[in-house]
């Protein structure tokens, strides 16, 4: 790619006393990319973001965001970025117009420019008719649109989205992601953090942090192929889970079993003899289970995440 990356991270490290929160992290994000950044609580995600937003100086290493060095020019970094979180970014007791006016002021806009930007943002969020409604009375999806335009008032090159759609109805969430993709096509770079991995599926590439280190970075299908190869089958029987578990206990090539409602989701190694719905149904029927049914299932980013965390921490999960 010939365009220079809009976020360029090299050996980025942050220590707090003896604790290394972020440990020599390297990655690039291209202009207009939707980049997902995942990690367990305490993995170093927030520390990374605070550094990239110019809020925290690195202990060593460098990062440039929209052309500005985060260590030497954090003020320029702050002017180039926007930040949006579903939960915290709006004042519920203010109207949409007041919220926008407040943020425009915080970004240093004054007078006619400020009024013009606020009007444009109200139009963009389709909130002109509701300008005097209290923000707390807006439906979740509308509030989210308002949060998005308020984070973009100063036209930032990079937008940080922190769990942007938690708790939003699925139809509003899809509309939100359509807006996000339109922004990306128009050149804005989106840096998304989330605990909900179905949301990460919308990202072009996903980086995963474990214990301060970036342990994987790839497209969602690439991550699944590399880290959880195999065949996933969802298995159910009228005989119940305990009977099913015991019938599966001596089947060769099973890498993992996970309860899922009345089903078990089973991961088989590639090429395992029973890693096929028809073969497994026949086997379970032969073991006397009532009405076994088996369906193909897909690997998820959650599978990837758990696999990588387990691999990095053989003793106990990063609860």
């Amino acid at each position: 790619m010939s365009t220079p990356p809009v976020i360029e991270v090299r050996g980025l490290t942050r220590r707090f006393g003896h604790f290394t929160a972020v440990d020599a992290v390297d990655f690039d994000v291209q202009p207009g990319e939707i980049f997902g950044y995942l990690g367990a609580n305490g993995a170093g995600k927030s520390t990374t973001i605070r550094m990239l937003c110019g809020l925290l100086a690195p202990s060593s290493g460098t990062a440039r965001v929209a052309g500005h060095d985060i260590a030497t020019d954090p003020q320029a970094v702050k002017r180039s970025i926007g930040y949006m979180s579903q939960k915290f970014s709006l004042y519920l007791d203010l109207t949409p117009a007041e919220n926008l006016s407040f943020f425009a002021g915080a970004y240093g806009m004054r007078g006619a420019e400020r009024r013009k930007r606020v009007e444009a943002a109200l139009e963009e969020a389709e909130l002109v008719d509701r300008r005097t409604t209290l923000t707390r009375d807006l439906p979740g999806g509308v509030r989210q649109r308002l949060a998005l335009v308020s984070a973009r008032l100063h036209r930032p090159a990079v937008l940080f989205l922190d769990e942007p759609t938690a708790g939003v109805a699925p139809d509003a969430r899809r509309a939100f992601w359509r807006d996000i993709r339109a922004l990306a096509r128009a050149g804005t770079t989106l840096f998304v953090t989330t605990h909900h991995l179905d949301e990460a599926e919308y990202c072009a590439r996903v980086g995963l942090m474990v214990d301060g280190r970036l342990v994987a970075l790839d497209t969602p299908p690439g991550l699944k192929r590399t880290h959880v190869p195999g065949t996933f089958l969802a298995v159910e029987t009228a005989s119940g889970l305990p009977a099913l578990r015991s019938a599966l206990s001596d089947v060769a090539g099973i890498l993992g079993v996970q309860p899922f409602g009345r089903r078990l989701r089973v991961r088989f190694a590639l090429g395992a003899p029973l890693a096929d719905p028809a073969a497994l149904v026949a086997h379970l029927g032969g073991r006397g289970l009532a009405n076994p049914s088996v369906e193909a299932s897909d690997a998820t980013l959650e599978d990837v995440f758990l696999e990588l965390v387990r691999r990095s921490e053989p003793k106990e999960g990063a609860a």
């Binding site: 367990a40 609580n41 109805a169 899809r174 409602g261 609860a319």
Partner: protein, 314 residues
């Protein structure tokens, strides 16, 4: 049935939060109340826990297994000591004492429930073991991660060994590792006979429940085992492969013959209204039939209240 709610209704001012809702959860059943923020999930759970008085409707608790068709007057009325003893409730924002340790929090809640020292010690050891918090028992609650804090809250709600457990968004703010741990724990509890009712805004969690109710604007849009609801969904779900994916998506999003559309890998995932001429033919792309998922069903129901065919009579 273990807990039975009938005709629950509750308004706040002019806002109707819960609008005539009935549901029941059996022993050994994991029931998920699924819906977006503002659907009425927390209000429902608070009424079922006896913390909020309904404007209308009743909640009864049956600590022992009963046969189907138990009269509404039987069982324990919510708010009685006996019902309280049978119920565990974990609110969304559980207030543990931040400056007390894990052990001290458990001891405090154990005393509130009137457990003897011997009972407390045995149960605390067991709960710390199954939540894998034993090695953190001296850590102050405020120094726990989100996932560990939730597990401690869960342990506190389980100290009095409830038969029915009500959980308000247990996976909210919990990272994926702790989240799967939490679900595995819940599956263990229901395999042991507990009735668990939880609510969640995440559609993908519906598939992990035995039975789900889809809540929207205080009413149940549909109820049943997740696999059944998907199987009874009337509208076809397809993948459409086109070159100009984003333009086509915008067009389809505004088409009344399309119930839902979103990008999926290189394709568009589309729920097409059944019984009308296909809105996809004009794009000329390859169309591939796929199995519906829970979110497809929910989105279909928002646009078509009859999107799920009636269950066949048993």
């Amino acid at each position: 049935m273990s807990i039975v709610a009938q005709g629950l209704r509750r308004s706040f001012g002019r806002e109707v939060a819960v609008d005539g809702l009935s549901l029941q959860v059996g022993h050994g059943e994991l029931y998920g109340l699924v819906g977006p923020d503002g659907a009425g999930k927390t209000t429902t759970l608070r009424m079922m826990a006896g913390l909020l008085t309904p404007d209308a409707g009743t909640v009864r608790v049956h600590p022992e297994a009963t046969t189907a068709g138990t009269a509404a007057s039987e069982g324990l009325a919510i708010g009685t000591d006996a019902a309280r003893a049978a119920l565990g409730y974990m609110p969304q924002h559980y207030s543990l004492y931040g400056d007390l340790s894990v052990d001290e929090n458990l001891t405090f809640f154990g005393r509130l429930f009137g457990l003897s020292k011997a009972e407390r010690t045995t149960r605390m050891d067991r709960l710390l073991h199954i939540t894998r918090l034993t090695r953190f028992r001296d850590r102050r609650a405020e120094a726990l991660s989100g996932g560990m804090y939730k597990k401690l809250a869960l342990a506190c709600a389980l100290l009095h060994q409830p038969k029915v457990l009500l959980l308000d968004e247990p996976s909210n703010g919990v990272d994926p590792v702790s989240r799967r741990e939490l679900w595995d724990l819940l599956h263990d509890f229901v395999e042991g006979g507990m009735a668990v009712l939880l609510c969640t805004p995440y559609m993908d969690e519906a598939a992990r429940c035995h039975r789900v109710g889809l809540l929207h604007h205080g009413r149940l849009l549909a109820e049943g085992p997740p696999g059944d609801l998907v199987a009874r969904f009337r509208h076809p779900t397809v993948r459409l492969f086109v070159d100009n994916r984003d333009t086509v998506e915008a067009t389809l999003a505004a088409d009344p013959a399309v119930l839902a559309v979103s990008p999926e890998g290189p394709a568009l995932r589309v729920v097409v209204r059944a019984g009308v001429p296909s809105p996809l033919a004009r794009f000329g792309g390859r169309v591939e039939s796929v199995a519906a998922e829970f979110e497809d069903v929910f989105l279909g129901l928002l646009r078509d209240p009859d999107a799920i065919a009636p269950a066949r009579a048993a």
